[in-house]
């Protein structure tokens, strides 16, 4: 199965509610994509950014369960945790997501797995937070590594 076509991620920032919508298709059946999101050994292999080591600390993947994982680099470690609110195999994951460095901020995440047929799957992830400010900051902080040059440019701009 020499499928070389890969799919680009699309990101939408909702205008009406502080929500980020991420859409991506995979050349794999929905059960596999779902498993890669629920099996801790598998998720540790792809979740973290490159250069960060991801350790799954706790993973109780069932409705009402919770999780915690830690990412480490030379500068320190970053811990994240949340609760599995609803799990429906091959269909849906509803969970919360918190960066422990900002414990008051909680994102409500909804992962919808759609079987496209022919062994393909569309995954739509929405993250809802409680203010546009937090949503935008979340998008900006997603770029831990490359963001510094962006900040520098912003500094120059704001200094004028």
């Amino acid at each position: 199965m020499a499928t070389t076509t890969r799919h680009e991620t699309t990101i939408e920032l909702d205008e009406r509610v502080p929500l980020v919508r991420i859409t991506r298709e995979f050349d794999a059946p929905v059960s596999k994509v779902y498993r890669a999101h629920t099996d801790p050994d598998l998720i540790a292999q792809w979740l973290g950014p490159r250069g960060l080591e991801t350790t799954i600390d706790q993973w109780d993947c069932r409705t009402g369960g919770s999780y915690r994982f830690v990412q480490r680099d030379d500068e320190g470690e970053y811990a994240f945790r949340g609760c599995f609110h609803e799990l429906r195999p091959d269909e849906l994951i509803v969970q919360t997501f918190t960066f422990e460095g900002m414990p008051d901020g909680v994102a409500l995440e909804k992962l919808t797995f759609e079987d496209l047929g022919g062994g393909r799957t569309r995954l739509v992830t929405t993250s809802l937070v409680d203010s546009f400010e937090d949503r935008d900051a979340f998008v900006a902080s997603g770029m831990e590594v490359g963001v510094r040059e962006g900040y520098e440019r912003l500094d120059e701009l704001l200094a004028r």
Binding site: E15, D27, W46, R50, G76, F132, L154
Partner: protein, 132 residues
């Protein structure tokens, strides 16, 4: 972890200003309207059910955040959008997108290696046939 964060505390503050300015729906709307061209505060105030003073305050917040500027010399003092800031924000979103894309490419690779579920029909690992 404080190390990395502390270094960018100042940057965070600047950034927070921009995000705070854009967190208000009226200000977001004002910014959207300025993308089509400069407008005076009076023009900007027209569609809203608020006073010109209130809109003027919104413009001031946007100005303090570096999102718009008002020319000093012109009598009408039209409000001008600082497109560069928005280019920057578009870049942030694009960077975020690329980061997510990178993560999903790792997932692509993993999915290729994973054996199929028994329920998927053929139990043989289909995708690993050609890989060493």
């Amino acid at each position: 972890m404080g190390e990395a964060l502390r270094r960018s505390d100042h940057d965070e503050e600047r950034l927070s200003k921009v995000f705070a300015a854009l967190a208000d729906p009226t200000r977001r709307d004002i910014v959207a309207r300025l993308t089509t061209g400069d407008h005076t505060v009076n023009e900007l105030a027209e569609p809203y059910d608020v006073t010109v003073q209130a809109v003027s305050k919104h413009v001031k917040v946007l100005e303090d955040a570096g999102l718009v500027r008002r020319s000093r010399e012109a009598q009408r003092r039209p409000v001008h959008l600082e497109a560069e800031v928005f280019d920057l924000m578009t870049k942030w979103i694009e960077r975020y997108r690329r980061q997510v894309e990178e993560r999903y490419r790792r997932l692509d690779a993993l999915l290729d290696e994973m054996p199929d579920d028994p329920g998927d029909g053929d139990a043989a690992p289909r995708d690993t046939a050609n890989t060493p």
